[in-house]
Amino acid sequence: MRILKWTLLLTAAVLLWGLIYWNLAAFGGWFTYSLLKMQQGGHLSSAVEFFVFETPKVLMLLVLIVFGIGIIRSFFTPEKTRKILSGKSETVGNILAALLGVVTPFCSCSAVPLFVGFVTAGVPIGVTFSFLISAPMINEIALVMLFGMFGWRVAGLYMGVGLLIAIVAGWILGRLHMEKHIEPWVFQAKMGDGAQENAMNWEDRIRYGLNAVRDIVSKVWIYVILGIAVGAGIHGYVPQDFMASFMGKGAWWSVPAAVLLGVPMYSNAAGIIPVVKALLEKGAALGTVLAFMMAVIGLSLPEAIILRNILKPKLVFTFFGIVAVGIVIIGYLFNILL
């Protein structure tokens, strides 16, 4: 009976969601031009329409995605991931680690215990790095928001490129044999048994998903709205092709500049993507924008500071350096190929 109740509730929720979602564009137009009686084609009206349409759209996508990913994540734990990765040879391990980084629950505040946990269980350093790069960089929120705003091609590119960087950078870091740049206590750490998790049933998984929605949406909604407001401003006021001069394909220095600019910025994916959409509309090149976005999401100063607890400065720099170079190369590649 409980299963039936949950199934009915979920189906009703999804139907209602779909009904609202597919009428948002019409609502945005109606709100701007009929209710506020604004002139079509003006700066302010196109900014307002963008904002009124995108805000509910992005928030609704966010709720749906976070819930879905929450359900998927309820099947994975760091303990399971570690078990899969320990004892794998390096190259295969790098690939698996990058893939598992996408679906294993992760928060950058847990980067240190996770690192130590992996290393003491015999997961090679390079493989551990592959996981640590892919987990924050291939962000589920970014992935599905890209899908919602640009379609599956850009979302797929983002994911493929993120995996590639995680695999290759992890593999290189493994080859560099930088064990001596890890604080010695990490290798002496004796791990206890960890948490013994009880098996979850479907009701638990749904609750897990709902908790994820509450947690994440309550944290990021403000960034989403700010991001969309900035995006709306760019959309309405910045002239067409304005970005082309300094973020277009012609400006060779724009890719490294975008990465340098992105590292100290610490925003979440939900806030950065509306800005990205507006930049692209105004003629910025996809590779440059993608590089900027990956640097913002994947490389953050707070994470570097946390990692400093277990890695000596040289390794922290090498780690960030390799990933940053990877992002720059990818940015150029996209600009040349597309």
């Binding site: 629950p105 928060c107 505040c109 215990p113 206590w185 960890g194």
Partner: protein, 78 residues
């Protein structure tokens, strides 16, 4: 006497978990001690890979989750 330990390096979730644990223990009327373990080396000895973690009488109950008061009560009753 229950020995409650909260493992975490001081993230907002760790603080919230500590508060919830305190409230739960008080509402149950337990005799307890509560300790915050913030040193990463000490945390690793428990084998957790996600923080915050809740430890009762030396046993890791959960890791990486912010439990509500009701959930903590269940774990303290056992």
């Amino acid at each position: 006497m229950k020995k409650i330990q909260i493992l975490g390096t001081g993230c907002p979730k760790c603080k919230a978990l500590t508060q919830n644990a305190e409230t739960a223990a008080k509402e149950l009327g337990l005799e307890y001690t509560l300790e915050k373990v913030t040193d990463i080396k000490e945390i690793m000895k428990f084998g957790v890979m996600m923080t915050p973690a809740l430890v009762v009488d030396g046993q890791v109950k959960t890791a990486g989750k912010l439990l509500n008061i009701q959930e903590i009560k269940e774990m303290l009753k056992l």
